[in-house]
Symmetry: C2
Subunit: 353 residues, 2 copies
């Protein structure tokens, strides 16, 4: 068992990626973003990914030092070739480009291809929010969701993230899949030997099922919406076409798609629309009204998008990040294989034992 402080886990991750050929800047960014996902409580996007990234690097599919290349651009748009560098490096630079363009022309939009796994989208949209812009981002990946009424996997859970800055309130940080659930939540149920609720998945014949194992035996995750799942299907289709057809990554279900994430992102400069102060006042007032809403029976608290993650982050910053045995074993054996000195982390790893 290991429970590490965030900065220790970040430092260890940084050290590992530098040891396998990433620059200090790249390694630092990847480490920071992976650990940030752990802090937010989204362990599926955290340090559990280290071994996957190392494997991709070994296979030559994730390339340290690959330059982020703008292959086409206008005053407000850019098409970016990620050259299969680290997804975090590519996506961060791409959002910077979107922000720069939005500063000049009110809005900036960037499409990205040849891009590895970028992690949680909200890390990038929040960059725009920190600059008094509205950040929007979507991406696609390996398909696990059928069209509404269909069985064959055709779409990734296709996340959409929106970051909306506020005044005195916290920014609103939305990051949702366009499927009922992300695959990770089904996996957790499977590992725990629990059923999934009806409406999450179908088996390989398209029948509703509560057995999470059915997903991994040719089943699929349903689009968001239940009986009105044509809405989630429509949103997933939108995400797939923006991330795949528009960027050149290819649609998730096409042979053209080579893995990683196709990405579309935007920054909208608030001060080019209504005044920034008026916008912020309106957000603050809306948040206050939401918080003051009468609650449905059994509901104790109304969470704003991003609020559960923020609470989890505060908790984990104080109490440390728990890394499950299998993942910790993987990380430490990798580190040892690279000849790294693990003493400081092994000592640190028992802060909560």
């Amino acid at each position: 068992m290991a429970t590490l402080r965030a900065e220790q886990l970040t430092s260890l991750t940084h050290t590992i990626f530098e040891a396998v050929g990433a620059s200090s800047e790249e390694a630092g960014l990847v480490a920071e973003f992976l650990v940030r996902s752990n802090l937010a409580g989204h362990d599926s996007h955290g340090v559990i990914r280290i071994s996957q990234y190392l494997r991709l690097m070994k296979e030559g599919k994730m390339k340290p030092g690959a330059g982020v290349e703008v292959v086409r651009e206008t005053g407000s748009t850019a098409l970016v070739n990620g050259n299969w560098g680290f997804g975090q490096v590519v996506a961060k630079r791409s959002m910077e480009i979107a922000i720069e363009k939005a500063e000049k022309n009110g809005i900036g939009a960037v499409g990205v291809f040849n891009c590895n796994h970028v992690g949680r989208l909200v890390d990038y949209t929040a960059m725009a929010a920190a600059r008094d812009m509205i950040g929007v981002m979507m991406c696609h990946g390996v398909p696990s969701v059928p069209p509404f009424g269909g069985i064959d996997r055709m779409f990734s859970p296709g996340p959409i993230s929106v970051a909306l800055p506020a005044g005195s309130q916290k920014p609103i940080l939305l990051d949702i899949s366009t499927s009922v659930v992300a695959e990770g939540k089904v996996r957790v149920k499977l590992r725990r030997g629990e059923k999934v609720p009806l409406g999450w998945i179908i088996d390989k014949e398209g029948r509703p099922t509560q057995n999470p194992a059915d997903l991994y035996a040719g089943g699929a995750i349903l689009p968001l919406g239940g009986e009105v799942g044509y809405k989630g299907f429509g949103l997933g289709l939108f995400v797939d076409l923006m991330s795949g057809a528009l960027t050149g990554s290819g649609c998730a279900s096409s042979p053209e798609f080579r893995g990683g994430n196709g990405v579309f992102m935007m920054a909208v400069n608030i001060s080019d629309f209504t005044g920034l102060d008026d916008y912020k006042r309106r957000v603050d007032e809306l948040v206050a009204r939401i918080k003051a809403s009468r609650k449905a029976p059994g509901v104790k608290y109304i969470f704003l998008p991003g609020e559960p993650e923020l609470r989890e982050e505060e908790r984990r910053l104080a109490e440390g990040i728990y890394v499950e045995d299998e993942t910790w074993e993987e990380i430490t054996s990798t580190a040892k294989g690279l000849g790294l000195d693990l003493t400081p982390y092994e000592t640190a790893a028992v802060v909560q034992s």
Copy 2:
């Protein structure tokens, strides 16, 4: 009972609006868009709105001849004051501005305030698709949806429309509310004396209910997603802030909001990203894969977004548009009050009797 051919209903609507002071151009556009909603099967946005519009005109809230005014702009964005003209006129001109900007700078985004009811969003996003651009539009209006876990109405069903052009396939025309259903569907159930499915609405105490009347007795429509309704809530919040806080219309739940629709729209120029031909090929191939997907038990056909409306349009173009007695009565008595000669329409109105 009246069943009219589309061009007759359009001509009658045009004549009425011209008779009360609209220019021929304005009246023509309003008539065209209202009847287009009827054709698509969305009667809630069709000629049933004539009496509402006439009332707003009488009250001075809907102003023929009001100019569409760009009050702020950059190379890619514009903030538009609709000056309370016809929503259709304002929204159409605003999408034209977005398209013009996208032609120059790859993307165009327009926020609109002081705008009356615009009707179905897809009428405008389809304008972008017809120009080989991706159209995106969202708007807000009178609130009927609480935050996830809350009771108080705070958001309109907040529609989002996306129009994605294709090659040889039909364009993909998505137009969905971010609530489980639009209010009109609950009203239909009420009129028919039917129950609504569990999960559509809550009563004024926040309890789940199947009685459609509860919505009109202080209840609310639930956000999209059911048990994961925080997703629909997040999308609704996004729509409300883009349409209300960013444009200056004010959030739907704020005293600042003066009715009509706050609108945010965009056009994305496809050829400034991947090549247009490649994009279109990808869309066509994806549509073909979707159509070829194995179907879940009981499913006969997989509809793409916009396809049900297209089928209905074909049917109604051939068979005529049925206008229910109450609405037909309203329209004809209004027309007579204006001294219009209804003979041609009254004859026409019995084509299907």
